[in-house]
């Protein structure tokens, strides 16, 4: 009501002015307060208003195109490239540094990171209704895991509480991926696997960054776009390294070769859908 009163007062004031003066030249500009370039001095709208856009970013998982949801945990059998039949018990992974790029080279970073957990649908929403400056964004980049700058040991209280840390003796920081499940060995017996990815340890005290930057161009993202960051879980076992769970199932965190193979296979794991 105060606003209405002020507007009334302003209107009366303006009317008062008009009575006293000649009609002034209109000041052209954007007169919509809801726009991102509202000009409080403008007296006449010139169609220049631009508006921020809203986007959603979700995370999803699939096995060569077949969607994987929490209903698949512990029940659905998948066959990997090497031929092992497996089920998923736990799938958690970290996505950070999501940046939208427009065609003019402007970058907008979506703040924060997300520990995605297949068993928790809420964790698969990276952001909803994120507001960005107007424009059409044609490219998205993000980091699987944390990059060197962000992978700071003990720095993130929520990730600490989630027991997501990567042991200091292996380089510290955080897990990028925790993929646990069960596969059938050649005798048909169930065996556990722990496909965990993070910093690679070369030797005591010597470590190698192991994150992946994913960069996808040729997109058209504008207002109300929904962006889906998709993980093809099958790719972790596929290319270029055909993964044999019978030989590489556990104690992989400190296994340098396994960590690098995961990084290589991880290059093909992620894709983006934007619509």
């Amino acid at each position: 009501m105060k606003k209405i009163a002020l507007l009334l007062i302003l209107a009366i004031a303006f009317v008062g002015c008009d009575n006293d003066d000649d009609t002034p030249d209109p000041i052209l500009g954007c007169t919509d307060e809801n726009s991102e370039n509202y000009d409080p001095n403008a007296t006449q709208d010139d169609d220049s208003c631009t508006y921020p856009i809203e986007i959603n970013i979700n995370l999803s998982q699939n096995w060569d195109g077949t969607n994987i949801t929490l209903a698949d945990i512990g029940t659905t059998e998948f066959t990997n490239e090497h031929g092992e039949v497996l089920t998923i018990a736990r799938l958690r992974y970290l996505i950070s540094k999501v940046i939208l790029h427009d065609s003019e080279g402007n970058e907008e970073e979506i703040e924060g990171y997300k520990l995605a957990d297949l068993s928790d649908e809420n964790s698969l929403v990276f952001t909803s209704n994120a507001v960005l400056p107007s424009g059409t964004y044609t490219r998205i980049s993000f980091v699987y895991g944390f990059n060197e700058e962000d992978n700071i040991t003990e720095a993130y209280p929520d990730l600490n509480a989630a027991t997501w840390n990567w042991p200091g003796m292996l380089g510290g920081g955080y897990h990028f991926l925790q993929f646990d499940g069960t596969f059938k060995d050649p005798n048909g017996d169930s065996q556990p696997f722990n496909y965990h990815n993070g910093t690679a340890k070369i030797s005591d005290g010597v470590f190698e960054q192991n994150f992946i930057t994913v960069d996808v161009e040729g997109l058209s993202i504008d207002s109300n776009s929904t962006i889906d960051i998709k993980m093809n879980v099958a790719e972790w076992f596929k290319n270029p390294n055909t993964w044999d769970l019978n030989t590489l199932s556990g104690s992989l965190m400190g296994n340098y070769d396994a960590q690098i193979m995961m990084n290589q296979n991880g290059q093909n794991v992620f894709s983006i859908d934007a619509n």
């Binding site: 009163a5 002020l6 009334l8 007062i9 945990i73 209280p157 027991t163 003796m169 722990n194 400190g254």
Partner: protein
């Protein structure tokens, strides 16, 4: 000046016109009630409020004493917006925690199965209820409950928060075997409790919700975060021995203990993930644990990872208290794992029964685990029986 004056006059005029037109256009219906606390004697009296919404708070606010290591590494503790910590509420909760009137025959308090000297668990494998009934799970220790970010309490996760948890034992037939109306009536009939509830909650009319709120406030003050290992992590390199440090490395080594995936680490000083796992105890289950609560057979045999703090005082171990010593616990993970359908894949050496940790590492691992115990927690005078 004139312009300003005119504006003020105008504004008043315009406002009154607008106000008048608003009320006249309401067709005489009641204005929307403004919700808030309407008690002038409360901490948060809202003079604008026209309808009380049960949000009034009383007593003297007090912050939890957050251990340095928690402050450094963990999110802020969870305190419900409708149950702020107060000196009066905590004192009442402490009194209630030690109050046998809550039980069916007036003989058993919370503290009779949750002993301070045992880090608020029961040294008996199973607790005995007022009727001599024996439970089938070991009482959980109580500490750091405000940092249970999953907010699932009990071994099977059936309670959603600390208050909810406190509702359970009073009416459990094999525990305190009371009814809430009867428990409340017993407290109401005393000469002291009505006044204490008035001081804490602004009313001398006791009800079960206020009882569990007070108990929850007390339980949130049961904080343990200053063991020798905490002191080591905070920079006192002399606080632990070389054996204990090696034990920590066994704990953190995926090829040896690999304990950290479920039980926290130097970065998670809760020493639990507060999540549910089947840790390979049995081939079939007498107690389905989480599966009872969720109804999902895939959750059968899963129980909450307990914190590893204060193990020196909290024997026996596991949800059913089957192990009397830490040696038995370590041997279980080293050699004793057995397969069942829902076993957690983190029990990765199941084919060999476990990781086969050598005897020196076992001893060091045990020493390390005990360095997470905090004697002062069990003797803290603020936690003892006030009655």
């Amino acid at each position: 000046m004139n312009i300003v004056m005119n504006f003020k006059v105008l504004a008043t005029l315009v406002l009154s016109v607008v106000l008048f037109s608003c009320s006249s256009s309401d067709n005489g219906s009641e204005p929307d009630a403004i919700l808030g606390c309407t008690d002038p004697n409360s901490n948060n009296y809202n003079s604008e409020a026209t309808q009380d919404n049960g949000s009034c708070e009383y007593g003297t606010y007090v912050d939890l004493e957050i251990p340095v290591i928690f402050n450094n590494l963990l999110p802020a503790p969870l305190i419900p917006t409708n149950n702020s910590q107060t000196i009066e509420g905590i004192a009442l909760g402490r009194k209630l925690f030690y109050e046998p009137l809550l039980s069916g025959d007036g003989t058993q308090a919370c503290a009779d199965c949750h002993f301070a000297e045992n880090a608020f668990t029961d040294p008996n494998q199973f607790s005995t209820g007022i009727d001599g009934s024996i439970g089938n799970r070991n009482a959980m220790p109580i500490y750091n409950v405000a940092w249970n970010f999953n907010e699932k309490f009990f071994w099977d996760g059936r309670a959603r928060n600390v208050e909810d948890q406190a509702f359970g034992p009073v009416v459990n037939p094999i525990e305190m075997n009371n009814t809430w109306p009867n428990a409340v009536a017993s407290l109401q009939a005393t000469s002291i409790y009505p006044d204490l509830f008035f001081e804490a909650f602004g009313t001398s009319i006791i009800d079960s919700v206020l009882v569990v709120k007070a108990i929850a406030q007390f339980e949130r003050t049961l904080i343990s975060g200053n063991s020798r290992f905490d002191q080591y992590l905070l920079g006192d390199t002399n606080a632990i021995t070389a054996e204990e440090l090696n034990g920590f490395n066994v704990f953190m080594d995926e090829d040896r203990g690999d304990c950290f995936h479920c039980h926290g680490s130097d970065a998670n000083p809760l020493w639990t993930d507060n999540i549910f796992h089947n840790n390979g105890l049995d081939t079939s289950f007498l107690d389905n644990g989480l599966g009872i609560v969720t109804g999902d057979p895939l959750d059968n045999g899963k129980f909450k990872s307990p914190s590893l703090r204060n193990l020196a005082y909290s024997a026996p171990y596991m949800h059913d208290g089957r192990f009397e010593t830490l040696e038995e616990v370590i041997n279980h993970y080293s050699e004793g794992l057995v397969f069942s359908e829902t076993i957690d894949p983190l029990m990765k050496n199941i084919a060999d029964g476990g990781a086969h940790i050598n005897e020196d590492d076992k001893a060091d691992l045990k020493a390390f685990l005990l360095s997470l115990s905090e004697p002062e927690f069990t003797t803290n005078p603020d936690f003892q029986d006030p009655n």
